[in-house]
Amino acid sequence: MNFDLGVFTPGNLRFLFDGFVITLRLAALGIFFSFWLGTAAAFARLSKRPWIHYPAVVYIEAIRGVPLIMVILWFYFFTPVFTGMPLENFTSALMAFVIFYSAYLAEDIRAGIQSVPVGQIQAAYSTGLSTFQTMRYIVLPQALRNTVPALVTRFIILFKDTSLAYVIGVRELTHSAYIISQREFRPFELYTLLALIYWVCTFSMSRLARSLERCLAPDRRVALKP
C-alpha cells in the first residue's frame, strides 16, 4: 500500500470538520463545567465537616482509580438503568468527562489552595472577613494564579481525551477520521492528519496558557509543568 492524498476530498474534509466542531463543543463544555465542580470538590475535601469531607475524598479517590473509558461506559449504559432517563451519547460523554476531570482538578486546585501561605488566611480572619469572603477574595485568587500551569495541563489532557467519546458513538473528530479511514483503506493519511490537527490545537492551547500565565503572574517565572 502506498501514500495517496486523494482521500482528502472536499466532502471528506467537510465531514472531518463537522467532527472537529463536536470535539470543540465537548471540550469547551467539559472544561467549563469541570472547573466549577473541581473547585467545589477541592473545597469539600478541605472542609472540616466530616459529612462533606469524606464523600469528597471517596469521590476523588474512586474516580482517580478507574480509567475514563469505564466512567464513560457507566454513564452511557448503566445510569439509565438507575434513573430511568436515557442519556444522549453527547450528554453521557460530557457528564463522564466532567465527573472524571473534576476529581483531578480538585487535587490540582487543592494543591494550589494549600500553597497559599497560612498567614494570609489568619490575617484575613483577624480583619473580620468571613470564611466565604476569605476564600473568595484572598485565597482563591492567589490559589488559582499558582495553579494555572497545572489547570492548563489538565484542560489540554481533557481536550485530547475527547477522542474517547468515539467508543459510545459520538461523531467527533477521531470517530469521523476513523470512519473515512476504514472505508477508504487509508489509515496512514487519515491518522497522520488527525494527529497534526490535535497537535496544532494543543500547541496553541499551551501557548495561550503561557501568555495567560505571564499576564497573571508577571513577577514569577513559573515553568509550565509537564
Binding site: 482509580g65 478507574v66 461506559l73 497545572a150 481525551d161 509537564p226
Partner: protein, 255 residues
Amino acid sequence: MFERVLAYDFRWSILWEPPYADMLLDGIRMTLVVSPIAWGLACMLGVAVAVCRTAPWRLPRALGTAYVEFFRNTPLLVQLFFWYFGVPQLLPPTAQNWLNSVNVPLLGLTLNVEVWTLIVGLAIYTASRVAETLRAGIQSLPRQQTEAGLSTGLSRLQLYRYVILPQAVRLMLPSLTTEFLTTYKNSSLGITIGVAEMTFATRQIDAYTFKGLEAATAVTVLYLAISLTIAGIMAIVERATAIPGMIARRSGGMP
C-alpha cells in the same frame, strides 16, 4: 429510583460461573501483564529522552523536544490507531507478515501483534510524559551537582548515571507513580485494537449475558483495588528511597 435498582434482575453469580469468570480473569491477567511491560519500556525510553533534553548539545535537545512535543500532545487513541492501522500501510508485505506472525506466550497469555502494538504505543506515549517529569526533576537539581561531578573527572554519561539520575528519580517518584497509574488505566484503550483486557471483559460478559451491570461493577472495583494497591506499594518505596533533606512534599496537584 430505588425501585428501579431493585427491579433490575441482578445475577452476581455470572462473575464466578465458568465461561464468564475466565473472561474476567483473562482480562485481569492481560491488564496486569501489559501495564508493567509498557511502563518498563516507557521508563527506559523516558530516561533516554530526558537525558537528551537536558544535554548541552543542540541536536539531542532538538530531537528530544520534538519527540516530547509530538507524542505528548496527541491523544493516545490516535497514536494507537496510527501504530496498529496506519504504519503497516507503509510497510512492505514481508515486514507486515513478520509483524502479524509475532506470537509470544507469556504467563498463559499469547502476546500477539495487537498486544505488542498496545504495549509499544503505550510505552512511546508514556515515555514522553516520563521524560518531561524527569526533566523537571533534573532541572530542579542544583547546578553545583553537575559542576562538582564534572570537576571530579566524571564523563557526561557517568555524571547522569551516578549523580543526576539517582537524585532526579527519587525526587520525582511521586509523579512517576502517578504516571505508572496512568499507564495502567490507559491500557483500557486496548479494547479499540482488539486486546482482551479488563474493559473488554466487561463488554464481552455484557454481550453474552446482558448482565453488564454486574460485570462493570466487578471490573470497576478491581481497577480501584489494583490502583490503591499500587499506590500503597509506591508510598512504601518512596519512603524507603527518600533522600533526607531533599524530599519534595507530596504535592497532590501533580498530574
